[in-house]
């Protein structure tokens, strides 16, 4: 029974990495930086999302009903609103409920609302949740056109600008990441090429004694994988440190923000880094050994 020993391939790739120490270091540094930059961007976006969700800015419109309308008419309006596209959920808040809430909010000044008891100045309202963030303006237009609506309070302008900022960041992120990955793969390709080059005499002998393609190139593929693994491990710890540092800095000044803890996402970061690192390593080393796939 023919058997190949993993230790041979692992040993060869460690030797290769060691022999081309400078290039190995360069590859690791570049790939690691790439991962950290990418990680930071993604964490930033996640936190923006988290806060937007908390604020509920993005998917809520408050609609006030004309106060001349009777309860039956309000019921009609409710039905009309439900027909409008992009409406996900409607909650009715009567003016009595609204008053109770206000009283609750300002209970230190309890005298304030006693004056208006029996003559509630507030209006009935609907809180409308919607599905599609990008079609808020047509929704607002539709609601305004509905008979009996006195006022539409929406944060569409704010929502849109936040959405735009997010899209802008995502755009920059994607371009930046693409460039960094191309650079990472390029550096790995060159590192492995150098390793192949320094062993070309050995490779030619191996060919004569009947070594298969995979026997020849596997150590180099492992080199790529190791570069990926080492880079991702370093990147993870650096990311951890940077995130912790930024969060403590912000905690003092921007304490109204809700910040995702690293503990809750650390394992995703680790997995993503490892996955991307290994894939990058495999792509780089495969490209650089491709021409050696011939006999």
């Amino acid at each position: 029974m023919k058997r190949y020993r993993l230790t041979y391939f692992l040993g060869q790739s460690f030797k290769g990495l060691w022999r081309n120490g400078i290039m190995t270091l360069a590859s690791i540094t570049v790939l690691m930086s790439c991962l950290v930059v990418m990680g930071s961007f993604v964490l930033l976006i996640l936190n923006i999302d988290e806060n937007l969700e908390k604020l509920g800015l993005l998917n809520e419109i408050v609609v006030f009903v004309d106060d001349t309308k009777t309860d039956e008419e309000v019921e009609e309006i409710h039905k009309e609103l439900e027909k409008i596209p992009n409406v996900a959920e409607i909650t009715f808040i009567s003016k009595e409920q609204a008053l109770e809430e206000e009283k609750e909010k300002y209970k230190e000044y309890s005298g304030l609302y006693e004056l208006v008891e029996g003559d509630n100045p507030l209006r009935d309202s609907f809180v409308i949740k919607y599905e599609d963030n990008s079609a808020v303006q047509p929704l607002v237009d539709n609601i305004s056109r509905t008979d009996g609506i006195a006022k539409v309070n929406n944060r569409a302008d704010l929502a849109t600008s936040i959405e735009n900022i997010k899209n802008g960041i995502s755009h920059v992120l994607i371009w930046f990441m693409t460039i960094l990955f191309v650079v990472s793969i390029f550096v790995i390709i060159n590192t492995i090429k150098l390793a192949v080059h320094s062993r070309r005499a050995e490779i030619s002998i191996m060919r004569y004694i009947g070594a298969t393609n995979w026997f020849v190139i596997l150590p180099f593929i492992f080199e790529g994988i190791f570069i990926g693994i080492i880079s991702s491990v370093f990147a993870f710890f650096i990311q951890w440190y940077i995130y912790g540092y930024v969060v403590t800095e912000m905690a003092g000044t921007l304490d109204f923000l809700s910040i995702i803890t690293f503990d809750s996402i650390g394992h995703y970061v680790a997995l993503a880094f490892l996955g991307i690192g290994i894939v990058t390593g495999i792509i780089g080393s495969t490209i650089s050994t491709r021409k050696h796939l011939k006999a």
Binding site: M1, K2, R3, Y4, R5, Y8, A201, E202, S204, I205, M206, R207, Y208, I209, G210, A211, T212, N213, F215, K294, A295
Partner: protein, 237 residues
Amino acid sequence: MIEFRDVKKVYPNGTVALDGVSLKINDGEFVFIVGESGAGKTTLTKLLLREEKASSGSIIVRSNRDEETAKKPAVYDLSKISDFKVPHYRREIGVVFQDFRLFPNKTVFENVAFAMQVVGEPTKIIKRRVPAILNIVNLTEKSGSYPSQLSGGEQQRVALARALANNPQIIIADEPTGNIDPKMSLEIMNLLVKIHKRGKTVIVVTHEKDLVDYFQQRVVKIQGGKVISDGVGGMNV
């Protein structure tokens, strides 16, 4: 059995290295390939190793069942064989070069063992077989030395041991004595004859008239890419 049928080799730059070579070498034969520099001898060995492909004609290699390694019989048509199968084909042939081509950072033992490692031989078998092969080439006591610590003749014997490692039926040596002194040359040649006597097909490309005359074996003479004579005897058959 090796058979060349009307083989022509034209290199990409237009050089015609072989031109209509037909040649049959039976199992267990010993053949000297001789000819002037540039005659096409190395090209012939490269075609046989499938390092180069023939431009036209065909090369067929048949191998028998090998009891020692339990290898099955096989027929290879070198003009049709896929790149994927070439490594497996090469295991049928042991090759020795003028410049030895040993791994400089492996010991004698490791150099021979590596050829077996490449084909996935288990360590247990490697440990048993390598000393036996080193014994055939009389290098048992140099087992732990590195190539740089050996003479040319000794290095060539290591190369020969490596060629024998996987028990191929065919041994090809391209000017095996080209880089070593005459006394050692005779020793290497004697070893090749010894290997031949053990049942291998041995093909030796050489310039050395004295050795060819001395051994009185089949001599194939090539000139300008063509076989100009083929028969048993000395250089002038």
